[in-house]
Symmetry: C2
Subunit: 331 residues, 2 copies
């Protein structure tokens, strides 16, 4: 049981399923579980409070798996910038071979990673940013549609359009991100021109995900309409779970509230209490529309194997039967 694509070949993994960078969530237990199941997981660098702690987290992950895994480095606008160069150096010195970059102007980081023989996947939300990353020399693109949790950009182009539009212009392998959580989505992504999928919200609701069980259950309970787009008026849109705080932020933005007032509201909440204490309404937390298709909390191995097995069924049973012009026979 396996799906072979340009992406699985390039990164030496068994299944074309990636667990991309998620702030607070991308820790050793989850990443190792994904790796052991044949997928590609990423530790999120900035989840660790210091570069030294990141070095320790990478070492901890190596005690849990001997399969390939990567580290995500996300560059976002902030008033007080994290020490990006030091995190980057920690990644390089730890001997990590795969990095996921995301956010604005990654060129300095990409060049440094490439110099050290590290393969780089850059995540972006538009065809033009994908082309720009390709010119920078990254090895693969993770193209992220409007459906996604976190930052969808400001173009509002969903995967059905964005993936083939990107595939028409980008030559390096692409994985599709945003709105993926099951076998149907994986086969759709492969048909649209991607070589695999990235899943975020779906991996949050797994046994090995290091968030409070209440929040995993909240993802199961939420439907596809229970997300909000916040910070739209600041051109820094983020898709988050609908709750008391996000609903209030959207209402403030609709009424033309000042940036400072919105920021004060959000800063006054306890975002990490969402994941640590399991209080849905404690603050802003990211969730994608795919939560409408998430109905259980499996282990990463159960999830990945189910997706691959069902994807093969969709291809060999449903699609081959519909197309019908050839017969399939057991190999």
């Amino acid at each position: 049981m396996a799906l072979k694509t340009r992406f699985t070949e390039m990164f030496g993994i068994e299944h074309p399923i990636v667990q991309g960078g998620m702030q607070w969530v991308g820790r050793a237990e989850l990443v190792a579980a994904v790796a052991n199941a044949g997928g590609l997981g990423f530790i999120t660098a900035l989840t660790q409070p210091t570069p030294e702690k990141l070095t320790e987290e990478i070492a901890r992950c190596r005690t849990l798996t001997d399969k390939p895994f990567g580290v995500n480095l996300t560059i976002l606008p902030a008033i007080k910038l994290p020490p990006y160069a030091e995190y980057r150096q920690a990644i390089i010195e730890a001997g990590i071979k795969i990095v996921e970059t995301a956010g604005n102007k990654p060129i300095e980081h990409v060049e440094e990673f490439k110099k050290h023989g590290i393969k780089v996947i850059h995540k972006c939300t538009s065809v033009r940013h994908g082309l720009s990353a390709e010119r920078m020399g990254v090895d693969a693109i993770s193209i992220d549609g409007f459906e996604c949790a976190g930052h969808p950009g400001e173009d509002d182009v969903p995967g059905l359009i964005l993936i083939p539009a990107a595939a028409d212009k980008i030559k390096i392998p692409m994985i599709a991100s945003g709105g993926f959580g099951d076998a149907r989505g994986l086969v759709a992504a492969l048909a649209l021109g991607a070589e695999g999928i990235n899943m975020g919200t779906r991996f949050m609701a797994t046994v090995e995900s290091p968030i409070h069980p209440n929040i995993k259950q909240q993802i199961v309970d939420n439907d596809e309409r229970a997300t909000e787009l916040i910070f739209r008026t600041m051109h820094n849109t983020s898709r988050v779970a609908k709750n008391l705080i996000s609903t209030q932020v959207v209402a403030m933005e609709r009424e033309g509230a000042k940036f400072e007032d919105v920021r004060e509201l959000v800063a006054g909440t306890r975002g990490r209490n969402v994941y640590e204490v399991g209080d849905n309404d404690a603050g802003i937390w990211s969730a994608g529309q795919i939560q409408g298709l998430i109905h259980d909390i499996p282990t990463c191995a159960e999830l990945i194997h189910r997706i691959v097995r069902e994807a093969e069924e969709i291809i060999h049973a449903r699609l081959d039967r519909m197309a019908g012009a050839r017969q399939t026979v057991a190999a």
Copy 2:
């Protein structure tokens, strides 16, 4: 060369490709061209100024094809309602066997059509509306995602999520609408749980489409970002081509303009001049994000045959090769 699905079987058509109702565009020439190519086309009832003219248009279509075709009846909020019951009666008396309904509260029309042995496809933009139509007794659902031209509803759920979410709950056959224009999209829709696709914008840019060549070329030239969502503030959202008028409407809505002022602006434009004179900026006109993937102006036969041929290639070459566990052999 054919793709057989529950939808093609139910409606007695060769290919699972539908040209759904489009105001001003769904006329006999286009509908007959789609039918002759093995797809399912719909005359748009309200494009005709009177029920008598609709009767003539149906008769004219029958001189152009002996294959099945249907009529679309869209029920939209309006200050002065068209004589819906009379249009409906014209459809029934003409002996039409397939109707596409769209818009709010179609139950009275659905019951009347069903009483006369007419198959009804209801187009809607959410799972709950699809379930409600299924309970009403319609034969199939056309589920319309956020990407679509015209009315996407207010939930902003794209097809990647909406199609499988609907497939999990709706038992009657579904076609996927919004964001479809090529073989990649068709195979994705089939993988996601649909039994075919509906295309609007893609059929506007065909040889037989009865709109001005300038506008067909405009669709080819526009990319996936060149649409606007207007009437958002009135909870009657519509996706239209980005041009001078739609950009102005969006700006007025952002600034909190009154409904009356926006309506006055739009009423003062000459929407039909877009299609008749070929003036992109003459008024508001519908276009979906799929325009970013439209690069030519083929005949309907070329388009439909290309999509089916390439869909078979994607299934039998790309996907079967990736899944690999079985070999395909020529039948």
